[in-house]
């Protein structure tokens, strides 16, 4: 068995076992076991990656699976997927570590929550390493039902069940259409293997090809989400428990952006060129809209949720540019968003545990003076989120804007530069809402509260790791870009 397959199956098996154990495993033990599982998986993937040469697929497995419909058990990790895989495992590890001390109360034993988290992580790993369209789809859907349970069972507030179901209906509607698109591609190209389709994609043409491109795009646009299909996101992210929000923002949305690269741009490049201007336009509208929506938020968790729409707008914009720079920017932007938004949600979760809510009233004012270290981390994460140079998010956004400035093969100059201007406006508005957040919560006359206290328990290592990752990605984006570059052709081989 290849190390990559083992890395995917291990969290699924351990997670499935914990879910089925029905609470016989104590929560702390389960969380530690989950953390160990993600570490072992990461070691397996890194070993497979180190053993392979640059520009080839690490740990590739290609075995017969469903011959009746041409689907194969075809997995492997290349330079596009490797950063996504590592980010998923890092966030999975931190979620488990956070659950050691801070398991939320819910309708079920804590070990089941750890199990569901592991299943989501394993399914995401499966998506990132699938080289077969049906296998990609199976893993894509496998993550959904566990996530629904995480939000509906362990979420906060009255609306959690509604939010979870809305999230499910939106994403499943998208992915059901995407399945129709995959089948069409499979019939046109005569294969479901991404490696074959990369060679045969000239065959995916005509109105049928366009049908496939549109349905696949719709499925991924709901997941990412692209404005105006984002309406499921704020409620789901807002009502999920902390680990649910982290996984939704850090991992789930990346299934969409990774899919845009791997099963849209790479699979239907000719149609993607036609659709890219429209997609890019929706993306910049999303950037501005999300910043405006954030300005009006009065709740930290919802603010972070809304800000994701804007960050994803940048990533989608980068994908739509269909240039090498754009693809690098999309991968970097996805990873950076996972790290920084993960950090924000962990801090918001810690505050929520302390104050019972994350609304401005509940948090009070003057956090700088009340809990300086927590406030410092929050300020750091918020400033990273707005794209301060030297921190993670900066490079993804800068490279996206540069890809637009250089005018890639797809978007014309007038359109590209217009989009550039509007996206830049979005950056300004982002600074505005981050500044508003800092002023409202951190500054002002302190309103001391009996519950005031710094981050504690397993929150400390979690936050420390994410702060370090934010700095490292900001100082050395080449770590990711160097991995992505040799495999750019895997995505862009079909673009003129």
């Amino acid at each position: 068995m290849s190390a990559v397959v083992a890395a995917v199956l291990l969290p699924l098996l351990v997670g499935g076992g914990l879910v089925l154990s029905g609470g016989r495993v104590p929560g702390r033990v389960a969380a530690l076991a989950g953390a160990a599982t993600t570490v072992v998986s990461a070691a397996l993937v890194v070993a497979a990656w180190a053993a392979s040469g640059r520009g080839e697929v690490a740990g590739e497995v290609d075995a017969a699976w469903i011959e009746a419909i041409g689907a194969r058990w075809h997995l492997g990790v290349d330079g596009i997927s490797f950063p996504f895989v590592l980010m998923t495992l890092l966030l999975g590890l931190l979620c488990c570590v956070s659950l050691v001390d801070h398991a939320p109360a819910g309708d079920g034993p804590p070990s089941a929550l750890v199990g569901l988290v592991l299943v989501v992580v394993g399914a995401a790993l499966g998506v990132f390493s699938s080289l077969d369209l049906l296998l990609f789809f199976v893993f894509f859907e496998l993550a959904l039902v566990p996530m629904w349970f995480v939000v509906a069972r362990w979420g906060d507030g009255e609306g959690r069940s509604r939010a979870a179901t809305r999230f499910l209906v939106f994403t499943v509607t998208g992915s059901a259409l995407m399945l129709a698109g995959f089948i069409t591609v499979g019939r046109l190209a005569g294969s479901l293997q991404l490696t074959d389709i990369a060679v045969l994609r000239v065959l995916v043409t005509g109105p049928v090809g366009m049908f496939a491109a549109v349905t696949i795009l719709l499925g991924l646009a709901v997941k990412t989400p692209v404005w105006p299909l984002h309406t499921w996101l704020p409620d789901a992210h807002g009502s999920a428990p902390t680990v649910g929000s982290v996984l939704l923002a850090g991992v789930f949305l990346k299934l969409g952006t990774y899919g845009l690269l791997r099963v849209w741009l790479a699979v239907v490049p000719q149609q993607a060129e036609v659709l890219a201007p429209a997609l890019a336009t929706f993306a910049v509208v999303g950037i501005v809209w999300s910043a405006l929506a954030c300005l009006r938020q009065t709740d930290l968790k919802r603010l972070v949720a809304f800000s994701s729409v804007g960050h994803m707008g940048f990533v989608v914009l980068a994908v739509a540019s269909a240039s090498p720079l754009g693809v690098s920017a999309a991968v970097l932007g996805s990873v950076a968003h996972g790290v920084v938004t993960g950090l924000l949600f962990f801090v918001a979760g810690a505050l929520r545990r302390r104050y019972g809510a994350t609304s401005w009233e509940a948090l009070g004012r003057g956090l700088w003076l009340r809990t300086p270290r927590t406030a410092g981390v929050l300020a750091f994460a918020a400033i990273a989120s707005l794209g301060l140079p030297g921190l993670a998010v900066f490079w993804g956004e800068l490279l996206t804007l540069r890809a637009l400035y250089e005018v890639g093969p797809v978007l014309g100059r007038p359109l590209a530069w217009t989009l550039l201007a509007v996206a830049a406006l979005g950056v300004v508005l982002t600074s505005a809402y981050v500044a508003a957040l800092l002023r409202r919560v951190l500054q002002g006359v302190p309103t001391p509260d009996d519950r005031d206290g710094e981050l504690a328990g397993s929150d400390v290592p979690v936050v420390a790791v994410l702060v370090a990752a934010t700095v490292v990605l900001g100082v050395a984006p080449g770590l990711v870009l160097g991995v992505v570059e040799p495999d750019l052709l895997a995505v862009l081989g079909g673009v003129r």
Partner: protein, 470 residues
């Protein structure tokens, strides 16, 4: 001339039914075990006959196995009704097996006369099965509805067959294809004859707008009988359609293809909407089985040449396994806790881990969601012919309807799953109303766990099921 190799299996099944009835009638006291064992052995014998390598047509063989295997599991699941005074075992087994022999001849038929006789043989005993429980008003009402609609639709089919014979002069499938297109009758008449013939089969399949009998009948019948109707009866009708449409009416595609496509779309939408508002598990499964028939029907819209009929049958096989599991679990719950409402399955996974998990797996399979990969693959299989560019994809709209209905289905299946894995409700926390004899429960549980195990195995390796259906 009679080809005995085709007739042996239905005769074995019918003979077993008659034997079960006689043994029960002349026995000193009513015994579930006696007639049950005879039925079981007859069905196993029929399976052996069907699986003998002399049978050439793989599709008919697969359909036959589906019908007989489904009946076998229903007979085992029906063991939960042992010692229910209102349920006579001899009659139950007799009617089940005779009806199954009708279903079996239906999928083995190669001419319209055999088809209509088999259709009646399938229908009439199943009407009696629905009304079998003595002194039950719901049962009588369900049987009466079923009877009226059944008679009307059979009459329509007979009218169609009369027309078909009138314009072609033959009833044999293989001759009909050419004779119908060579007929000098106006194309409209030929088209009407074909469509009328198909109507009776659509009724048995429970397709909209001929679905209205389904919910009342399923709820009136005992749970194993509802399982029988939803699986074996549907398999017979779907099998007959899959053989009849391309083989006999293949050149008349313009007349029946839009009818089948629209019926499939309506069936999906109406069935799913009906299931959405149910708060009884049997009601939910009844409406959802209407929607599931839509999935079976959809790929039939592009059945063109003989031999590309695998998609509906592959779907049907997966559906049959999952639905038998679901109904089997509900039958157990009804026997032990006396009801089939949502409250009766709340927390089932914690009270009965094995059967509860089997129910969850079956529901996820019906919804088409991982970890029940086989359910997802089944959805893939029915969408594939609709999106095949070789056919010019005139039914891509139907593919979109199918895809969107997967979503609706997921919501209500998942709502039930959430109840089943949720906190234990007061019903299950209380004691069982009817402590079934352990033997009957063990048998019925086997009838649930065996197909559930099949779902697990085929989710890992779907080819085990798919490649077996040509």
């Amino acid at each position: 001339m009679i080809d005995w190799s085709d007739v042996v299996a239905p005769l074995v099944v019918a003979g077993g039914g008659i034997l079960a009835l006689l043994l029960d009638a002349f026995g000193t006291r009513r015994s579930w075990r006696r007639s049950g064992i005879v039925s079981f052995l007859a069905l196993v014998a029929a399976l052996v006959v069907l699986l003998s390598p002399s049978r050439p047509d793989g599709l008919q063989q697969a359909l036959g196995v589906l019908v007989v295997g489904g009946t076998l599991l229903v007979v085992l699941a029906a063991a939960v009704m042992e010692h229910e005074d209102s349920m006579p075992p001899g009659e139950l087994h007799f009617l089940l097996l005779v009806s199954a022999s009708g279903g079996l001849s239906m999928v083995l038929a190669r001419d319209l006369a055999t088809l209509v006789v088999s259709l009646e043989l399938l229908s009439l005993p199943s009407i009696a099965l629905v009304g079998l429980r003595r002194g039950d008003v719901d049962a009588a009402r369900g049987a009466w509805t079923f009877f009226v609609v059944s008679v009307v639709s059979t009459a329509v089919t007979l009218l169609g067959i009369a027309f078909v014979y009138g314009v072609s002069g033959t009833l044999v499938y293989d001759e009909l294809a050419l004779r119908l297109s060579a007929s000098r009758a106006p194309a409209e008449v030929v088209g009407a004859a074909v469509v009328l013939t198909v109507v009776g089969l659509l009724f048995k399949l429970g397709a909209v707008p001929l679905h209205l009998w389904v919910p009342g009948t399923y709820r009136g019948a005992s749970v194993p009988v509802a399982a029988y109707l939803s699986v074996v009866s549907k398999a017979g009708a779907a099998g007959a359609l899959v053989l009849l449409l391309p083989d006999a009416f293949g050149l008349q595609g313009e007349s029946w293809r839009p009818v089948v496509a629209v019926a499939a779309a309506l069936t999906l939408v109406v069935g799913n909407l009906g299931a959405w508002v149910q708060d009884d598990v049997v009601g939910l499964l009844a409406w959802s089985s209407i929607a599931q028939a839509g999935f079976v029907l959809a790929p039939m819209a592009v059945l063109t040449t003989p031999g590309v009929a695998s998609a509906p049958i592959r779907y049907l096989a997966v559906y049959a396994l999952a639905n038998l599991v679901a109904f089997g679990v509900v039958g157990l719950v009804r026997r032990r806790w006396g009801g089939t409402s949502m409250a009766h399955v709340a927390g089932l996974v914690r009270v009965e881990p094995w059967t509860g998990s089997a129910l969850v797996l079956a529901l996820l399979t019906l919804a088409g969601f991982p970890p029940a990969v086989i359910g997802l693959v089944a959805k893939y299989v029915v969408l594939e012919p609709l999106l095949d560019p070789r056919f010019g994809t005139p039914y891509a709209w139907l593919a979109v309807v199918v895809a969107l209905n997967v979503v609706v289905g997921l919501v209500y299946y998942l709502r039930l799953v959430a109840v089943v894995v949720g906190p234990v409700g007061p019903r299950l926390a209380g004691s069982t109303v009817s402590p079934s004899p352990p033997r009957a429960v063990v048998v019925a549980r086997t009838a649930v766990l065996v197909p559930a195990a099949a779902l697990v195995v085929t989710s890992v390796q779907p080819d085990l099921l798919l490649s077996w259906i040509p």
